[in-house]
């Protein structure tokens, strides 16, 4: 029975072809060559070269982030100055005088925040680390 090209390829792949014809011989040769890995390989310092490139990229990325950080701060200062000049805003601490008589509230508020912080550290963080 004559096999179709597709059947012949499948048979060669499964090692079950027995036609003995030219097509089979040619396919055997092709499949054998394709299975053979190429003799190419990387140079000895390939891994080191990759690691060097990774490090260089990290340095470049860090300096880029630093530049963007500086740009952000400068832009924020400029925006603040423009907004103050534009709106004629004047800083006034007068509101502090009106609440200066309630210093006990501030002390309690501060102490309460510290207490919550302490509880957080003692209870929650300890549980997480277990």
């Amino acid at each position: 029975m004559k096999l179709t090209e597709e059947q012949l390829q499948e048979a060669i792949e499964r090692n079950t072809a027995e036609t003995g014809g030219d097509d089979e011989r040619a396919y055997q040769q092709v499949f054998a060559a394709l299975r053979r890995p190429s003799g190419r390989s990387f140079s000895a310092g390939f891994e080191d070269a990759v690691m060097d490139k990774v490090q260089q990229q990290q340095v470049r990325r860090r300096s880029r982030e630093y530049v963007w950080y500086i740009v952000g701060v400068v832009l924020m200062v400029i925006a603040t100055v423009v907004a103050v000049l534009w709106t004629g805003f004047q800083l006034n601490f007068g509101f502090l005088y009106s609440i200066s008589a309630y210093s006990g509230v501030f002390v309690f508020g501060g102490a309460f925040i510290l207490f919550l912080h302490l509880l957080d550290r003692r209870l929650l963080h300890n549980k997480k680390s277990v």
Partner: protein, 187 residues
């Protein structure tokens, strides 16, 4: 062999030895993938280095939706075809099937290709004359032992196209080898 998830988490944790191990485990795949399309050795090695740098940068995005090797193969494939495009190589569609097949089988003289090399080298030289898509599919299937879905995932080709390219590529190589075999017997 270390589990992919463990390896990836160690690399993401800043373990450079783990990344070196990742390179060693996948360098063969990347070399086969890129080397099959980029012939210049220095350029190929440079490109393979860039592939691993990209892997390092993007490893945090890898969500184990596929095998790590498939994901790395996809990056290598994209780098290789981009490099081909930069070299102004045609990478669009496979040339007209019938026209390409007849010119591939008829035109170049196998004797000039084979010279004094063995038959495997002869077949590999013929393979280099095939369109890049055929070469990639042949390499991933036969040398890397990948499945049709894995090849499809790497190349972005539908599974049917992968099967069809593989069939056509092997058929073209067979026809050429058959022609050579005939001549060899006459000698």
């Amino acid at each position: 062999m270390i589990d992919d998830k463990v390896l990836v988490s160690r690399v993401l944790g800043g373990d450079t030895q783990a990344f070196r191990l990742l390179i060693r485990q996948h360098e063969r795949l990347v070399l086969h993938m890129v080397g099959r399309l980029i012939k210049n050795e220095a350029e190929c090695e440079e490109l393979c280095q860039d592939v691993f740098v990209r892997v390092y940068q993007k490893l945090g995005d890898f969500n184990f939706g596929s095998k790590l090797s498939t994901w790395i193969g996809t990056i290598a494939y994209r780098y290789a075809i981009n490099a081909l495009r930069k070299q102004k190589h045609a990478w669009s569609d496979i040339p007209d099937e019938e026209q390409f097949s007849s010119s591939f089988i008829e035109e170049s003289n196998p004797e000039t290709l084979v010279a004094e090399e063995d038959s495997d080298a002869f077949v590999m030289k013929l393979m280099n004359l095939l369109p890049p898509q055929y070469k990639v599919v042949l390499t991933l299937y036969h040398i890397e032992g990948m499945t049709y879905p894995e090849i499809g995932e790497i190349t972005g080709m539908p599974e049917g196209t992968v099967k069809s390219y593989l069939f056509r590529a092997r058929n073209l190589l067979k026809e050429k080898v058959k022609k050579y075999l005939g001549k060899e017997e006459l000698l």
